[in-house]
Symmetry: D2
Subunit: 295 residues, 4 copies
């Protein structure tokens, strides 16, 4: 098929490569002209010609509305816009409605796979009307991994990003599970020096074998006690949204939230809450506090 | 090699089969004579002959001391006892010392793989002196999975069961992660009816692909909304020991403990703590309480 | 002073009583004419006369916008509206701005005290401009408790409801703390039959003495093992908002969120997440599941 | 009454003062002769004379067995030993049995009150046989606070320390609740600069008024943003034991454990678990890690 891609960063650029390798015609647009196939959004749309056009957005979340403002007038009724970014699912419905006012179709597509996706394929979770999804299926078929799975039509508008959000929420807690286990093994005299070997062995035959475990083993091969890495973890939004969605639906998510909070804590120089704990202990028990300057 | 196995239940029996298929000579003993290869522990030891004997224990944790009391006098210096059960790691050191008084060697071996182990192999985590481990290596090689991994010498006495314990602690939290994600998807109108398909798709290309995810998909294929299963989860000890070990070493394990507590709660008819919450709300706010008889 | 109160339910009605006992002139309005002092909002405003009018809203959160739509045209520039309900703090700023367009002042006031407030006074947390707060001070002075504390100007628009929200978030976790402790004591053979006496004794001299502890003791005096109360706890919104605000500001709140999740769980007939845990255990270990019909 | 006190540190010394002020005759013994009333345990026992002797131990947990080894031969059948230290409850039963072999009675007494106890009285939770408790009642009556409450006979051997342990477990979570709330308020622009005033106001009329809240307010009066205190919190054992007891009895304690884990985390220079999270994120997403040396 033929499609445009707006945003040719790490993800968008790799997807362009994978799509072209799969035989599709891709016209990319990026503000960085060195990697762009077109000089402007208008030029990209022109190059796509007069037939039904498909435009895949792979831009930062904050940029989507600006892109759509410029792109919408360039498109015609029947064209399709796919948002493949890390958008909050609740924004998809309103955007679909806004585009529908111009007769333009909209799909939301959650994408997993990170830097491995170009070679191994991207897991895709798509939301939107079945007939529009059907039209774009050849694109999804090329992007997805070679295996039997890795693609799903998850429901109507927002369902793709919702499924991806929950995927990431699960991911947070699974990572936290391995991280806690690693910290515990590292702390135990009993298994000293055998920790990397233990994790490596777990890759076959155990209940907890997984792709994340394989990545963990790779990380330990590069730095066997992670002494070169600081215990500082960002979060990219989906974890927060997962907990918020859970709260909204009264679903208890203690493991996912504990993973999120552990990341928050990791980014604090000094925990305000623990200052207060120390202050209260000092008040009732005369327990010494550590002065801030000792840090 | 030649070895005895004490305890021929689901695990021990399957391991006997796998070992025999691998060319080893196994003399099993079980209280249930219908499945036993020997009439008594003494008979089993007799059949093993006068050379260095290896006896693998695959009995319930509570039965180990009783078996060792009967078995020890039947063995001679240089013989090897391997505990392959779900023993608490802290018991291994004292048992090794007690057997060492008779010149008998001891290994602890954590085993993962469940009902799948017979065919796919068992992941093994072994604790004990290197030379004793070396002697038993042919047995471990047969029991382990075919892949490159699945076996590790994790350290000295107790290290095998310690590694297995942490494996299970991680397992608790990983399962909790998927379970929370599933509950959230089930609760969301956005993805209604697509939940099993979403999980199925995640098996390729996602960050959270794993063996447990595959098992989860199998479970949903058998019962797509789990309407036939009650939300009641046992725990087998290792999760508790993991949290206790973490507390002992001042290692924070919020995800693992939340998984453990969720299982505790699942087994309560009615939460005592929540009775108290309801009672306090009633006291300060006049909020209605639900009478217990409504249950 | 003179003021109108819209909403004369449990809270609004008691506040009217306390204000009148404190010498204020109160014109109440409620849809229920039997308890109303006025036949309509317009009648209420008429009765307040032509001077600067103060109207205190004590209506359900969902009703506020409807009330304001009717009330605003009846007021004149310089009048003051105080929202004393359990409003989400983020709604205060926009409402203040909307009223400001008509020259009407707005204050938000978080109120704590429950059914005890009429006699003991209500703790008040007020948000809004200092000069408007100053004007209404006599009202706050009458409503607040007799002690030295119990009233605070917490900041500009939204600060009153924000402070009240955090108060309730803390309350959730404090209640959870006592509830966990009570469950633990109830479960321990060591202190059998002494549990109510233990809590009663804690009211003096301990680090954990508090008003909630006193309420807990009252609850145990009425039902010494809470056998008549079901472990079912509602949540009223502030706990959810607290966790959401924390997530928004990357503040870890593990205790508050665990209290919230415990309430969510208490309202589930059967935990979906635990169904999935049971299903996965069955898949890998052959562990029996409990059929849903056993419930 | 007449009694001996072994250990005259901060707690033991203050208790001696309070008991003497209450009319009791106290013979204290401490290794530090400058504060001791006796030159040795034997001298202390001698000074107590030949009647039924009562000896109160107020020594560090690790020292108790050594003291008892020396003290037991000096006592006679019918004498009473009271352990007022922060002993783990499970050690009380065996110690009571050991002393019973010499006909010596034993009581365990959990003590709360910290540095405030000398003036305000100590909350006491006593375990042991009723008749022995009865004999010592005048001592407890003097030590306890003046109010109606503050003393309880909590059950047989171990019950006093068990109740105190749960008290401290609750205390951990209550402190965590306030600490999370404080951190949240500190983080919010809405209430900037009003945080100490908000907490001060909460001391009257709110649902969360408590003694700990009053201590918190004192702490903020001394250092209004706690800028001089480091977020570093010790734990003294009872919190750990509470979670372990809960695990042993399958009681979910998410709030108490989260408070414990937050303290563990506060003492880590860098979180090992978060190193692993960062390492895995880098592996799958190419997310940058922060080098340890930036610390």
């Amino acid at each position: 098929m033929q499609l445009g891609i707006v945003g040719l960063g790490k993800m968008g650029g790799n997807m362009r490569d994978r799509l072209r390798a799969g035989g599709h015609t891709v016209v990319g647009y990026d503000q960085n002209q060195e990697i762009s196939d077109s000089t402007s959004l208008a030029d990209m749309v022109d190059q796509l010609g007069g037939e039904q056009r498909i435009v895949w957005l792979m831009v930062p979340v904050q940029a989507i509305d600006a892109v759509l403002k410029d792109l919408t007038p360039l498109l015609k009724a029947g064209d399709i816009v796919i948002d493949g970014g890390n958008t909050r699912w609740s924004e998809d419905g309103p955007r679909a409605a806004a585009l529908a006012a111009s007769g333009i179709h909209f799909l939301d597509c959650g994408v997993s796979g990170g830097v491995w996706g170009k070679d191994l394929g991207y897991a895709l979770m798509v939301g939107g009307p079945a007939e529009v999804v059907e039209t774009c299926l050849p694109i999804f078929q090329t992007l997805k991994p070679d295996g039997e799975h890795g693609y799903v039509h998850a429901g109507d508008h927002g369902a793709g990003h919702f499924a991806k959000m929950v995927h990431n929420g699960i991911e947070y807690a699974v990572m936290q599970a391995y991280a806690e286990g690693w910290e515990l093994l590292e702390a135990a005299d009993t298994v000293t020096d055998h920790v990397p070997a233990i994790f490596e062995s777990w890759q076959d035959g155990t209940v907890i074998r997984s792709w994340l475990l394989e990545l963990l083993v790779r990380a330990l091969k590069a730095d066997d006690d992670l002494s070169e890495i600081r215990g500082y973890a960002e979060d990219s939004g989906e974890g927060r949204w997962t907990v918020e969605a859970a709260i909204d639906m009264a679903v208890p998510v203690p493991a996912i939230s504990s993973a999120l909070f552990a990341r928050f804590t990791s980014r604090q120089e000094d925990s305000p809450a623990m200052k207060m704990i120390a202050a209260m202990r000092n008040q009732f028990g005369g327990h010494a506090v550590m002065p801030e300057t000792e840090d």
